[in-house]
């Protein structure tokens, strides 16, 4: 057990290092002159020869490994970054400075985290709230008209691209009908704007995410439940004369939930890493929205930092899922 966890932790760490190197290299070798964007911005597009000063000060004339070393050191100890003539302090954990605002990327990342986290938590909650009961209900009525109708309508729904579903939800409810309560979408701080406004702003995003995402969970739950209900111990429970509720929820669902929980862990990681479509459509100014904005502004440090952050988020959630799964199901460790 312990050895397995250590092994997974080491490989997870390795992947994080690899991904950060890959992203760093991408933004090093990718642009023809990495400092061009900031130079153009600072000199209002009259950069010309001054590009060399920016390249030199940002370290793009040094070898890549020493600059990667500085970058890693900046994450733990902070560093100073020079744009042209001005030097800015970037405290640990430093992921670079935004070309746009000259503020440390980490600060803004942290300030945008609540929006993304709100979307992720609410959406993920609805995945389970809709998905599991419907899946259980379908499994209990396996083969009936209700089951077939549920399965085929959910197959139909999940065959539509998510963003178009979300877009239509937003266009009709918010723009066209101006439905009460959800007409003011976006992220509002639950503290300064009040929890009701926060709830109303995110409600539509949650519902769109939840309805669309729950189709997958219904399928998983139904499949796992059908399998669990055909086990011998369920027959034993029936033979003992236990009430149907106890059989389904206590004996069946518990066994069926293990694979569902692992998939949920990975999905939650994906949501936390940035729900780009949801944030773009429902105007929620979280991490996904911000990175999309940064792409438009050519704000390379922000794009690089959000990419690294999201990748790390995904890797960590995968790692947690693996470890939790190995605790829940000891057979995994053996293979």
């Amino acid at each position: 057990m312990f050895a397995y966890i250590v092994k997974r932790l080491i490989s997870g760490f390795l992947v994080v290092v690899l991904v950060s190197m890959a992203v760093f290299a991408l933004f090093w070798y990718g642009p023809s002159k990495p400092a061009q964007a900031i130079c153009d911005r600072e000199t209002s597009n009259r950069c010309g020869d001054r590009i060399e000063i920016y390249q030199e000060n940002l370290g793009y004339n040094n070898p890549i490994y020493s600059e990667y070393g500085k970058f890693v050191k900046g994450i733990f100890a902070g560093r100073e970054i020079t744009f042209g003539a001005t030097t800015y302090q970037c405290d640990a954990p430093c992921l670079g400075l935004s070309y746009n605002t000259k503020q440390p990327v980490t600060e803004e990342l942290v300030s945008r985290l609540p929006a993304t986290a709100s979307v992720a938590v609410g959406g993920a909650f609805l995945y389970l709230l809709f998905g599991i009961p419907i899946g259980v209900a379908a499994a209990r009525r396996r083969g009936t008209v209700t089951d077939k109708a549920l399965v085929s309508s959910f197959l139909f729904l999940s065959s539509i691209p998510y963003y178009l579903f979300a877009l239509l939800t937003w266009l009709y409810l918010t723009v066209l009908w101006e439905a009460p309560f959800v007409s003011d979408v976006g992220y509002f701080s639950p503290i300064s704007d009040g929890p009701l406004k926060w709830f109303g702003g995110l409600f539509l995003a949650w519902v769109a995410l939840g309805i669309f995402g729950c189709t997958q969970y219904t399928r998983y739950t139904r499949g796992a439940m059908v399998e669990a209900l055909s086990e011998d111990y369920i027959r034993t429970a029936k033979a003992k004369g236990l009430p149907a509720r106890t059989i389904v929820y206590k004996h069946g669902l518990r066994a069926a939930l293990v694979p569902v929980v692992t998939i949920f862990g990975i999905d939650f990681g994906i949501l936390l890493a940035g729900t780009i479509f949801t944030e773009r459509i429902f105007e929620i100014q979280g991490i996904g929205w911000w990175s999309l904005q940064a792409v438009g502004n050519k704000d390379l440090p922000v794009v690089a930092a959000t990419a690294m952050f999201s990748a790390v988020m995904l890797i960590v959630s995968n790692l947690i899922v693996d470890i939790v799964y190995s605790i829940l199901d000891p057979r995994v460790r053996l293979s």
């Binding site: 963003y163 178009l164 723009v175 995968n318």
Partner: protein
């Protein structure tokens, strides 16, 4: 089981028409390969056939895009916009929808602000969508098959390394990758004459690089079990070179998983292409459904048709690809009986 049917015999489980075992007629025994059985099941599936018809329609539109444009007398050329648009009234078209009736010169109407012909952009958007999805599927399949075959067949350290890469790529969603390289491509190539082409190539590359893992996994699993089968071992004993064993012995047995993965990839790539264009990080120059959708959102209240045209294109294509894929998966699965 409420209806009083005949007792379930082995014959009632199969697809073949029941034959009276006592009949005097000589029975013609025709062997059918698993693929033929699957195809037969598929042809009898009504939903699958409707989906296939829809897909054929889109294929025809994509292949004959220039011809269709010529037929309707429309083109994607930029026009002198103020001739066609009510520039003072928000840039809405003077002819055709939304404010006037049907305009035979522009059957789908024209776009606000730019006066682009919607039909021409729709037809070429279909072409972009299918070309990108098809080429991404092709590349991803080649990589997936190669990696899956090697990892499954060679095993050992090769399998460990390749599996590590499969897992590594699985953790990173293509959306993130596309988002990350978009500004770099823009920086490097935005002044290039072939920017539109480069954008398409890089999109195909991103989709393929982050889309091969599913197939690799499926193939690897299949090869792991096939490797131990007698015919493969016989081939090895006979001294066949590994490459020949892989291609001649294993590949034909991998048709089903390959078809299944392709049926999963195609709709995903069509949706991804349109989605990225919608976010403004996919095909931004040239015709693309997603790009039209993102432009049309702000005119939705006055000009809903402008949004619906590309939207229905994407939804219909992705939906039929998905449903057909599902039917193919069912047809190939010997366990499902319909």
């Amino acid at each position: 089981m409420s209806q009083p049917t005949a007792p379930e015999t082995l014959g009632s489980l199969s697809d073949e028409t029941p034959v009276d075992p006592n009949s005097k007629q000589a029975k013609a025994i025709a062997g059918r390969s698993p693929m033929q059985i699957a195809l037969g099941r598929l042809v009898r599936d009504k939903i699958a056939m409707v989906c296939a018809a829809v897909i054929v329609f889109f294929l025809v539109v994509a292949i004959f895009a220039p011809l269709i444009c010529k037929l309707f007398g429309v083109s994607t050329d930029t026009v002198f916009a103020s001739q066609y648009l009510d520039m003072l009234g928000g840039g809405m078209p003077l002819k055709g929808p939304p404010n006037n009736g049907f305009d035979p010169e522009h059957p789908f109407g024209i776009a606000p602000q730019s006066a682009d012909d919607n039909l021409a952009y729709w037809v070429y958007g279909c072409r972009t969508s299918l070309t990108i999805a098809a080429s991404a599927t092709l590349f991803a399949s080649v990589v997936g098959i190669a990696v899956g075959l090697l990892a499954g067949f060679l095993g050992g350290i090769v399998d460990k390394v390749l599996s590590f890469f499969i897992d590594l790529f699985l953790t990173i969603p293509f959306l993130l990758a596309a988002l990350t390289i978009a500004p770099i491509l823009n920086d490097r190539f935005s002044l290039n004459d072939n920017y539109a082409l480069i954008q398409k190539f890089s999109l195909v590359a991103v989709l393929a690089i982050f889309g091969w893992m599913g197939m690799a996994r499926l193939i690897r699993g299949e090869v792991l079990s096939l490797r131990e089968r007698e015919f493969v071992q016989a081939a090895r004993v006979l001294g066949m070179p590994t490459s020949r064993v892989l291609i001649k012995e294993l590949m034909p047995n991998l048709a089903a998983p390959i078809i299944i993965s392709v049926s999963l990839m195609l709709p995903a790539f069509v949706a991804a292409e349109a989605g990225l264009a919608f976010l403004g990080i996919g095909v931004t120059s040239g015709a693309s459904w997603g790009q039209t959708i993102s432009k049309a959102v702000k005119y939705f209240e006055e000009y809903p048709l402008y949004l619906w045209e590309p939207l229905i294109g994407v939804v219909l294509l992705v939906l039929s690809l998905n449903l057909l894929g599902d039917a193919i998966r069912d047809a190939l699965d010997p366990k499902t009986r319909r």
